[in-house]
Symmetry: C2
Subunit: 348 residues, 2 copies
């Protein structure tokens, strides 16, 4: 029988640090591009009568010696029952033997790697001297997005926070976020990583009511809303701005004016996926963004193509999320858990 | 965090009894036919350079209130490493909330439900007065196949065992099988079920060298070999015989002369699947078995169509295995484990 490490959400969080996750997400992009990782077909199912859905993302990461899967379920009516709406479970198997290595909660990993993906966009594509960051959407995902971006952007002095649904949510974010930085929330595995982010608690963080004005001040814009129509218009965005867009991950979702996509240098985590479910879908359908103008960020990381080509160019990363990110982070957690004897070991 | 029951192979075996598994397999066939269960698309991947493969079978069983998946891996070189070649892991989720309920080893379940599937073929299609059973292929799968068939066929007096590769394997089966019956190996969950099978240890069980002669004596023939060409010829099989064929589950596999398929009344667990990977593939390709002549056994169980139509008809069940069988058995095990406080409970 195999000895399998089982890790719950708290244990997963204790084994993660944002720099490690950022590194894992970069690896995911690079492995995908160089053929050292592969995604298997996605399985999706909707349970109509109970407003639920589940999907199974699976794949193999030769570079990390593993294959595995993440099953995510979302059941809208769970709140009434005191249960989380979204849940995820990740299984990691040894690539050489097929032996199950670990089982872990996937929700914190998803949140951390999605934040890291936005930050990899900033690190790879934003002007290094960027000083003002605008966060659009102040929900749960905003916490890891802003933290990860502060980790990789050394010169950010000011964070503006806008929430299209509620000024109160934006205010709440600005109140709670510095505490999470101070408490090392995003880098619990290694205190020294925590220190970098802790020092960022001094950055000014303010809610804003006027998104047009905020866009005109921003060097970097991060978006993470469930919007289904453009909330950032083409004319508002200054030359040289970088945008990392996380929100659009389903058919019909949109955050950015499609005209901005037509004039920006556009990057994707996966070209096929962003055309189908990402920020690019409308611009491609309208014919104003030819698919060949969408580059894959992994190619920039591998040095195969240029990222930003000038200080005045607008760059945009359309990040829809790829299962390989979860699997590489889960492999990292498995190694750390085994090294430190963390989690429960069961025989299956 | 969810409380998840984790069960290893020994615990799974302790929670199973053959009558319960036979009942679960009948349910799987019936639910599938009546739309109370659904299979999701199969995910397969071959790791060529290390002679490995994995597949993910997933589905939903409304009738049992669950959805879930089984991931099976087969790595040919594991024997050199002292590891099992095939491994399986099953995850069961609550159908109403998406909460993970249990994680268990899948190898014993696969073996039991495959044996039960052959027996459901006998129970549904064989002449009830059948007295002589021929088992073709004396490997691991033969143990549960014969045990399950003895459970459902009350008048079997004689079991003949033929192995196309090795007379020693057939002899070994005949030596070991009665002990397993006596020890209650196939019905550990409930001693009273074990008694039925224990009484069968008195049935005569003999290895045979001449398969043609054995076929001419048999009322029921079970096949479970990895053969890629017919090993049972049309002319050998008497009128009124029933065959449950388990071996063919991949392209190119065959155990039965295709001419026998053309004259028998043929049933499948899943019509599309048996044409693709089952015993029916060659006969359909040759045009001697029209697809519409392949009936689904679930329709017989539901009373929608007739099974056997006369005492002289040859009937045949082509069983390729469906993921719903695993899930329904896993749901049964989950309920029993929770009832008896068995397995390890972890929070994920």
């Amino acid at each position: 029988m195999a000895k399998v490490t089982v890790l719950n959400k708290n244990e997963v969080a204790a084994l993660l640090d944002m720099p490690g996750v950022i590194n894992a997400v970069e690896q995911a992009y690079a492995f995908k591009q160089s053929g050292l990782a592969e995604l298997f077909p996605l399985v999706c199912h909707v349970f109509e009568e109970c407003a639920g859905e589940m999907d199974i993302k699976s794949g193999s990461v030769d570079g990390a010696g593993i294959f595995g899967l993440k099953l995510v379920s979302a059941f809208a009516r769970n709140a009434e029952k005191g249960l989380p709406k979204m849940m995820g479970t990740i299984l990691v198997f040894d690539r050489e033997t097929g032996v199950l290595k670990s089982i872990m909660d996937g929700s914190h990993i998803t949140n951390m790697r999605t934040g890291a993906a936005g930050a990899v966009g900033c690190k790879t594509l934003a002007r290094p001297d960027s000083q003002t960051l605008l966060m659009v959407g102040a929900g749960m995902q905003a916490y890891t997005l802003v933290a990860a971006s502060l980790e990789v952007m050394q010169h950010i002095k000011r964070v503006l926070v806008y929430d299209p649904l509620s000024m109160e949510t934006a205010k709440g974010f600005c109140r709670m976020f510095p505490d999470r930085l101070k408490n090392g929330f995003f880098s619990r595995y290694d205190a020294k990583y925590g220190d970098t982010l802790r020092s960022k608690a001094e950055v000014s963080i303010d809610p804003v009511e006027d998104i047009e004005q905020a866009c005109q001040q921003a060097d970097v814009i991060l978006t993470a809303t469930p919007s289904r129509q453009a909330i950032i218009m083409d004319g508002w965005v200054r030359p040289g701005t970088h945008l990392s867009c996380i929100g659009a991950d389903m058919e019909g979702k949109q955050e950015i004016d499609e005209k901005l996509l037509a004039r920006a240098r556009v990057f994707a985590d996966d070209r096929v996926q962003v055309i189908k479910v990402g920020e690019c879908q409308k611009a491609v359908k309208q014919g104003i963004l030819p698919p060949e103008n969408i580059h894959e960020i992994g190619d920039v990381i591998l040095g195969k193509i240029a990222g930003r080509q000038s200080d005045t160019q607008v760059t945009l990363l359309d990040s829809t999320g790829i299962g390989l990110q979860d699997l590489i982070v889960a492999a990292l957690i498995t190694d750390r858990a085994q090294k430190h004897g963390m989690g429960m070991v069961v025989e299956i």
